[in-house]
C-alpha cells in the first residue's frame, strides 16, 4: 500500500529532534499502530493463500496466490453486488445532498422559533436507532405500495442521513455571507435562483463532507438491505457478506472469507488512498463546523 504524505507549511518547518522523550513517543505510537493494524495485515496475508492452505494465519505472507480471491469473487457475484452497492450509495447521496441543502436553507437563514424548532426536530432523529423502528417502517412502506426492490433501502438511507446532513449544512450556512444574497435580491434574483446559483455552490465544503461521511456509512450498512432485499441479484456488498456468516468459526474457510472481506472493503480503500486529504478534512469539518 502506498502512503502519500502531503507537505504542509508546518511540516516543512521543523521536525522534533530525536531525544529520549521523543523516542518514547515514537515507540508508543508505533507499537499502538502495529496493534491496531495487525488484524488487517493477517487478514490480508491469509487472503493471498490458496483456499486449501491451512497453516496458521499468523505465518505472514508465506504464499501468494489469487485462488481465494477467485473463489470469493464468484461466490459473491462481485460485479453485480458492487454495482448494486454503487447504485444505492450514489443515488442516496445525490438525493441527500439536494434535499438536505434545501432543508438547511430556511433553517439556517430565517430567524424564527419555527426555524429553530425544525433544526432541533431534525437533529433529534440522530438518536433513534434503526432497529427500533424497522418493523413499523416496513409496514408503512408496504401500505404505501412500495415493493421491496433495490431502491427501498435507498429511501431509508436518505431518511437516516437527514439529521446529520441537515445539522452539517445548517452549520455551514453561517459561512455563506448574507450580503451576497441581499445584493442578488436587489438585482431581482428569485428565491430559487439565489439558492441554486449562490448558496448551493458556496456550500461546497459541506457537500464534500456530506458525501464522504454519509457515503461511507451507506456503502458499509448491511441492515436496511438485509431487511428489505430478498432477491439475491439485488444484494449489496455488505449483505452479500452475510452469506459467509457461518464460515467465521470454520478455519477451513478463512482464506476465502478473508478474501471476501478485502474485496468488500477494496473500493473504499482505493477511494480513501486517492482522496486521503479530502476524506480526513471532510470528516473533521462535519463535526467541528457544525
Amino acid at each position: 500500500m502506498a502512503f502519500r504524505r502531503k507537505k504542509d507549511d508546518r511540516e516543512v518547518e521543523t521536525y522534533m529532534k530525536l531525544t529520549p522523550k521523543s523516542f518514547l513517543l515514537y515507540l508508543v505510537i508505533i507499537v499502538f499502530c502495529i496493534i491496531i493494524i495487525s488484524p488487517l495485515v493477517i487478514v490480508f496475508s491469509s487472503s493471498l493463500r490458496t483456499p486449501e492452505n491451512q497453516v496458521s494465519p499468523l505465518n505472514l505472507f508465506i504464499e501468494f496466490s489469487l485462488a481465494s480471491y477467485q473463489k470469493a469473487f464468484t461466490n459473491m457475484n462481485y460485479p453485480m453486488e458492487f454495482l448494486n452497492s454503487f447504485i444505492t450509495t450514489a443515488g442516496s447521496v445525490l438525493v441527500i445532498v439536494i434535499i438536505a441543502t434545501m432543508a438547511a436553507y430556511p433553517i439556517g437563514r430565517i430567524k424564527s422559533k419555527l426555524a429553530r424548532f425544525m433544526y432541533f426536530f431534525f437533529i433529534s432523529g440522530l438518536i433513534i436507532p434503526s432497529q427500533m423502528v424497522i418493523v413499523p417502517i416496513a409496514q408503512t412502506l408496504s401500505r404505501l405500495g412500495i415493493p421491496n426492490t433495490r431502491f427501498t433501502p435507498m429511501l431509508m438511507f436518505i431518511t437516516c442521513s437527514l439529521p446529520f446532513s441537515v445539522f452539517l449544512y445548517s452549520g455551514f450556512m453561517k459561512s455563506v455571507p448574507v450580503e451576497i444574497e441581499e445584493s442578488a435580491y436587489m438585482d431581482g434574483a428569485s428565491l430559487f435562483k439565489r439558492f441554486t446559483t449562490i448558496v448551493f455552490p458556496l456550500l461546497k465544503p459541506a457537500t464534500v463532507s456530506t458525501i464522504i461521511t454519509q457515503g461511507l456509512w451507506i456503502w458499509n450498512d448491511y441492515f436496511y438491505p438485509m431487511v428489505f432485499i430478498t432477491r439475491k441479484e439485488q444484494y449489496s456488498l455488505p449483505v452479500g457478506m452475510l452469506q459467509f456468516l457461518g464460515d467465521k468459526e470454520n478455519p477451513a474457510q478463512w482464506n476465502i472469507l478473508f478474501a471476501a472481506c478485502v474485496l468488500c472493503a477494496l473500493p473504499l480503500i482505493i477511494i480513501f488512498m486517492a482522496l486521503q486529504k479530502q476524506f480526513i478534512n471532510g470528516i473533521a469539518a462535519g463535526a467541528v463546523k457544525g
Binding site: L40, R109, P129
Partner: protein, 303 residues
C-alpha cells in the same frame, strides 16, 4: 394566509421570507413518513399482541410492559447497553484524544500514523465482525495463537464464550473501528488552538502536561462535547457485533437493547412486545442523551 402568518411570526426580513419554508418540504416528507410516523406507531403497537404479519390483533393493555420487566430481559438489556456505551465512550475518547495530542506535535510520519489509526473505520461492521471473530477465536485465533507463541495456553482464551468478558470484547471491537474518527475530530480541534496562547503558556513556565490540561483542553471543550455525544449515540445503538459475533450470547450476556428488539420482532415474531421494548428504550435513550447534553454543556462552561 401568507400575510397573517408573517405578522404572527414577526419575520420582517424582505430577503429571507417565510416562502423559504417550501424548501423544507421534501426533507420533511421523508422524515415524517419514514421516521417519525413509524416511531409513533410503536406506541400504538406496544399495547397489542401484534405479531408483525397478521393485522388481526388484540389489545392487551400494559401486559407487554409488565412481561419484559418481569422476565428481566429489559433490565438485562439496559445494563448491557449502558456498560457497552460507557466502554465505547471512555476508551474511544481517551485513545482518540491521546493519539491526537501525540500526533499534533512535530512528529515524523504523521500522515502514516493517522492513516493507520483511521483505517479500521473504512470497513463495514460486518467485515469487522468477521475479522474480530477470527481475532478472538480460541485455539486458532490471532490472540490465542500469539499466546501459544509466547508459551502461554491459548486454548483457554475464549473471550466471546465468557459470560463476564464477552460484552467488553465486543465493545472493544466497536472502539477499534470507531476511535479513528474520534481522533480525526480531536486533531482538527487541536489544530484550531492558537499557537500564541501556547507560547504564552511556555513563557509562564508551563510544562507540556500543564499546557495540555490548562490551555489546550479548555480550548477544545466543544470538540470534546461533540465527540462524547457522538460516541454516546453510537454506543446506545449497539447492535452490530452482538448480531454478527455473539448472537446475544453466551446466555444473554451480550443482548443489548437493539439486539433484543430485533430478535423479538424478527425471530420470535412478537412485535407487540418488541414495541413495548422499543418504547422503553426510546425513553432510556432520550433521558441519557438529554442528561449528557446538559452535563457536557455545564462542563464546557467550567473548563
Amino acid at each position: 394566509m401568507e400575510k397573517k402568518r408573517k405578522k404572527k411570526k414577526g419575520n420582517i426580513s424582505l430577503v429571507f421570507t417565510n416562502r423559504m419554508y417550501v424548501f423544507l418540504i421534501p426533507a420533511l416528507l421523508f422524515f415524517l413518513i419514514l421516521w417519525i410516523y413509524p416511531l409513533l406507531q410503536l406506541f400504538y403497537y406496544s399495547i397489542t399482541d401484534f405479531n408483525g404479519i397478521n393485522y388481526d390483533f388484540d389489545y392487551v393493555g400494559f401486559e407487554n410492559f409488565s412481561r419484559i420487566f418481569e422476565n428481566g430481559s429489559m433490565v438485562n438489556a439496559i445494563k448491557n447497553t449502558l456498560i457497552y456505551a460507557v466502554v465505547v465512550v471512555v476508551l474511544s475518547n481517551l485513545i482518540g484524544l491521546g493519539i491526537a495530542i501525540a500526533l499534533n506535535t512535530r512528529i515524523h510520519f504523521k500522515g502514516i500514523f493517522r492513516t493507520c489509526a483511521y483505517f479500521p473505520a473504512l470497513f463495514s461492521a460486518i467485515v469487522v465482525g468477521f475479522i474480530w471473530s477470527y481475532v478472538y477465536m480460541p485455539t486458532n485465533g490471532m490472540i490465542a495463537g500469539l499466546l501459544d507463541m509466547f508459551g502461554m495456553d491459548g486454548s483457554k482464551f475464549n473471550p466471546l464464550g465468557s459470560f463476564t468478558v464477552a460484552l467488553f470484547a465486543i465493545a472493544i471491537v466497536e472502539v477499534w473501528k470507531g476511535f479513528g474518527t474520534t481522533m480525526i475530530i480531536y486533531l482538527a480541534g487541536l489544530q484550531t488552538v492558537d499557537e500564541s496562547l501556547l507560547e504564552a503558556g511556555r513563557i509562564d513556565g508551563c510544562n507540556e502536561w500543564q499546557l495540555t490540561r490548562f490551555v489546550k483542553l479548555p480550548l477544545i471543550s466543544s470538540t470534546i462535547t461533540i465527540n462524547v455525544i457522538l460516541n454516546v449515540i453510537a454506543g446506545l445503538k449497539a447492535f452490530d457485533y452482538s448480531f454478527i459475533m455473539t448472537n446475544g450470547g453466551p446466555g444473554s450476556s451480550t443482548r443489548t437493547l437493539m439486539f433484543q428488539i430485533y430478535q423479538m420482532a424478527f425471530t420470535d415474531q412478537q412485535m407487540g412486545r418488541a414495541s413495548a421494548f422499543s418504547v422503553v428504550s426510546f425513553f432510556v435513550i432520550i433521558v441519557i442523551t438529554v442528561f449528557m447534553l446538559f452535563f457536557m454543556n455545564k462542563r464546557e462552561v467550567e473548563l
